[in-house]
């Protein structure tokens, strides 16, 4: 009886320890981060002038990227704010594909957020004024999940909509091929 109690206590302690850090399942209903967007973010590996050290990544990237609720919200805003209008369900069309492993302006969280905020040549609007920051981070988290780069456990399998691709949480980064590569080639090649 006594060793049973001790064993239960150990199990309970283990559980408490595990509960310390599970970012995936947090539901932050009132996320109000700093009101500043990430600072200068490198969009390419080419750097003019003397070499400067890399910018430390914004810590919010890690927080949003692996969080299931943020990815789910991002999935919703992706449709609501008409990202699908150009990028479709990630396969691209008018805009480049988001499901593949090719990122013209970088594929880290900071870089995706910067692309959405600042807009990009050849038709990507600048949403910085319009979409509040938290939602941009959530959209970026969802975009990363499209290419299989996010935590698979945090990504949803599908939306409650028609689906033409394999489940998001089983996505693998697809290499770009053929026509779509030519169509989306920009000034940087």
């Amino acid at each position: 009886m006594r060793h049973r109690r001790r064993r239960l206590g150990l199990a309970f302690g283990l559980v408490l320890a595990l509960s310390a850090g599970c970012n995936r399942e947090n539901r932050n209903l009132d996320a109000t981060g700093p009101e500043t967007l990430p600072g200068l973010v490198a969009v390419s590996t080419l750097k003019p002038g003397p070499a400067r050290g890399p910018q430390p990544p914004d810590p919010r990237g890690a927080e949003y990227e692996g969080n299931a609720q943020h990815i789910a919200n991002g999935q919703r805003y992706y449709q609501w704010f008409n990202c699908s209008g150009c990028h479709f369900n990630g396969g691209g069309g008018i805009g480049p594909a988001l499901m593949d492993s090719k990122w013209r302006y970088g594929g880290s969280m900071d870089q995706i957020v910067a692309s959405i905020v600042q807009g990009r040549p050849n038709g990507m609007p600048a949403f910085g004024d319009k979409i509040p920051e938290q939602q941009i981070w959530e959209i970026a988290a969802y975009v990363r999940s499209l290419s299989g780069e996010a935590d698979k456990l945090a990504a949803p399998s599908r939306a409650e909509a028609m689906r033409s691709t394999p489940p998001i949480n089983n996505a693998n980064p697809q290499p770009q091929t053929g026509d779509s590569a030519a169509a989306t080639a920009g000034p940087n090649g």
């Binding site: 595990l18 999935q75 399998s157 409650e160 089983n170």
Partner: protein, 644 residues
């Protein structure tokens, strides 16, 4: 009541008792704890674990009531509240109500039918372990902030991949798998015991009403559980690998979920309710010193309820826009099930009317049951009507209804039954004074908590809301409900304390403290590990009330574990069968199965790789041995190396 401290009607002399006890004993220490197949050990554990979950579910309810006591209360945020009410429902329905009824049956059935143990003892042990694993998983999830959040019903698409982010609904769905496997395993064991292991002479017409109710319940479990397994498996599949069972845009249907769930869900509540009816019959007969009036009618009523329960499920879906003519069929069926219940109520009251009721604590719970359950049943008749249901569905009126029928119809009988059989299980008497106080607090607290909910439901308060507006005028009734909930909690605390204290320091109980007539009272309190030294022969419905000495049959082997099998209808002895020795395989299989189930929450490949250890365990568990009769023959012919 008589403290009948005399010798039990069936007792062995000390030498035979010691030898037989050695054969049937559970090994000592941790190994014994993990390997036992003794139905009484497993039953006790099952009951205690079920009561622990009852308390946990009750604490969750107390949290909910505290939040709802005032309008616009900021005590609990909506996310946590949604988890709490989902945990409350899931705990009470899957981890308390069904398992504890099966637990009572696991302990009592062999005693009531005159057998030494349950059929399929290792399956029985497995049932407990897998149930415990599921409960531990759910509460670990609660601590880790991944408790289910979509209600105990978890409707798609709210519980689907898009609207329930993370692993919360997967945890819920796998809990279903755990508890449904446990339920099925116990149901098979109980049904086989009642059908094949009854004492000679216990024809179907002499089977105790509790055993009848458990037999029917077991068959209901076997038919109903697969539906919820499908519902939850399709949900996991949608969430994990992107299938479209519930995705309307791709040809699936959210209504499919509801049909599958409620095809299980409605029989589920009768699975919870029917054992309670059996308990009421047993307690009433003993405390009124009269066998229950109308035994054939009672059995028919139980059977009818069991069958009809499968034809009602659409009454949970009257608001979904199904064709109205079809809905009307379910109105008629749902009202029809009031008939067997009403008839049974008459029979119990007739037993009290014609008998000489003594109002010990268990009988108080029977009276409480009648007063409470009938009110709940009548509000159920109201809900059966489609137009009326469209007004009160998903309001607090429904919450009041189902608590009246579940607490009144199942928990009150259960509390009475635990008090009633407590002396048999522990050999000690609980305090009658504390028992009455507990009843008074529980009964009054329950009614104070739940009656006002009928009113706020009629006044428009929907259910599953974490708060409500002050201007709606619901605050007063909600405050009363919260006060009642606290009184109810106090009553439950007194009740449990009474049992805990009595288990250690209560006065010793004889074999038959209440003067009951069933076979369970023919052996000592607590029973010896082998239940009955000699097999009783049954000549009436209450064998101990026939006035003569109880006839017994001797001759079961006393050097191995042997049980007597009898025919299904007339209970004529047919064969002697071996009963398994303690085995570690149920526990190890549980570990392997838990790894499979929990792993498949996270990655579908666990279904494949996880099934390999499970297969290995099951092969080890069922590894063939020579048949029991051959082993006995070998031993008796002195063949070396045969069993000792």
């Amino acid at each position: 009541m008589s403290l009948d401290a005399g010798a039990p009607p069936i007792a062995l002399d000390p030498e035979r008792h010691a030898a037989l006890a050695r054969v049937w004993a559970t090994p000592r220490g941790l190994w014994g704890f993990l390997t036992t197949v003794d139905a009484k050990e497993i039953g006790k554990r099952y009951i205690v674990t079920g009561l622990v979950f009852f308390v946990l579910g009750g604490l969750l309810a107390a949290a909910m009531r505290t939040q709802l006591a005032r309008p616009e209360s900021g005590l609990i945020d909506p996310d946590r509240y949604n988890q709490i009410f989902s945990m409350h429902g899931t705990t009470m329905m899957f981890l308390f109500a069904v398992p504890i009824m099966e637990a009572m049956a696991v302990y009592l059935t062999p005693l009531m039918v005159g057998a030494r143990t349950m059929a399929f003892p290792r399956l029985n042990a497995f049932s407990y372990w897998i149930y415990l694993a599921g409960g531990v998983m759910l509460y670990a999830a609660f601590v880790l902030n991944i408790a289910p959040e979509a209600g105990w019903t978890a409707y798609a698409p709210l519980s689907g991949p898009q609207f329930s982010a993370g692993k919360r609904s997967d945890i819920w769905a796998q809990l279903i798998t755990f508890t449904e496997v446990a339920g099925l395993a116990a149901a098979v064991s109980i049904a086989a015991t009642i059908l094949k292991m009854r004492a000679p002479g216990m024809t179907l017409a002499r089977v105790p009403l509790f055993a009848w109710s458990m037999l029917i319940t077991s068959f209901m479990v076997i038919v109903a559980m697969p539906a919820v397994m499908l519902a939850s498996s399709f949900l996991i599949s949608d969430r994990l690998i992107g299938t479209h069972f519930y995705n309307a845009a791709e040809g699936g249907s959210p209504l499919l979920y509801q049909h599958l769930f409620w095809f299980f869900g409605h029989p589920e509540v009768y699975i919870i309710f029917l054992p309670g009816l059996g308990m009421v019959s047993e307690i009433t007969a003993t405390f009124c010193r009269r066998s229950v009036f109308g035994y054939p009618v009672m059995v028919l009523a139980l059977l009818t309820t069991g069958f009809l329960a499968f034809g009602l499920w659409v009454h949970h879906m009257f608001a979904t826009g199904l064709p109205r003519l079809g809905d009307s069929f379910y109105t008629a069926a749902s009202m029809t099930i009031a008939l067997p219940a009403g008839v049974q109520i008459f029979c119990w009251i007739a037993t009290m009317w014609d008998g000489r009721p003594r109002f010990g604590t268990p009988m108080l719970y029977v009276v409480g049951f009648i007063v409470t359950f009938v009110l709940g049943g009548l509000s159920g008749v109201m809900l059966a009507s489609v137009p009326l249901d469209t007004q009160v569905h998903d309001t607090y009126f429904v919450v009041a209804h189902f608590h009246y029928v579940l607490i009144g119809g199942a928990v009150f009988p259960l509390l009475g039954a635990i008090h009633y059989w407590f002396p048999k299980i522990t050999g000690r008497l609980p305090s009658e004074l504390a028992g009455r106080w507990a009843f008074a607090l529980i009964f009054s607290g329950f009614n104070l908590a739940f009656f006002p909910m009928h009113l706020v439901g009629l006044w428009g308060m929907p259910r599953r809301v974490y708060t409500y507006s002050a201007e709606m005028g619901w605050g007063g009734m909600n405050l009363l409900s919260t006060a009642g909930a606290y009184v109810l909690a106090a009553g439950v605390a007194v009740y449990l304390l009474n049992l805990i204290v009595a288990a250690r320091r209560g006065p010793a109980a004889g074999p038959n403290p209440w003067g009951g007539g069933g076979l369970e009272w023919a052996t000592s309190s607590p029973p010896p590990v082998y239940n009955f030294g000699m097999t009783p022969v049954v000549e009436g419905r209450e064998p101990l009330w026939l006035g003569e000495e109880l006839p017994v049959l001797d001759g079961l082997d006393e050097r191995t574990r042997e049980v007597l099998l009898t025919s299904v209808s007339q209970a004529k002895p047919t064969s002697r069968e071996g009963s398994p020795d303690p085995s570690i395989w149920p526990f190890v299989t549980t570990l392997a199965t838990s790894v499979l189930f929990v792993g498949s929450i996270f990655d579908e490949w666990w279904v494949v790789w996880g099934s390999l250890p499970v297969t290995a365990c099951v092969i080890a568990w069922f590894w063939p041995k020579p048949s029991h009769s051959r082993q006995v023959k070998r031993r008796d012919s002195g063949i070396p190396g045969a069993i000792a």
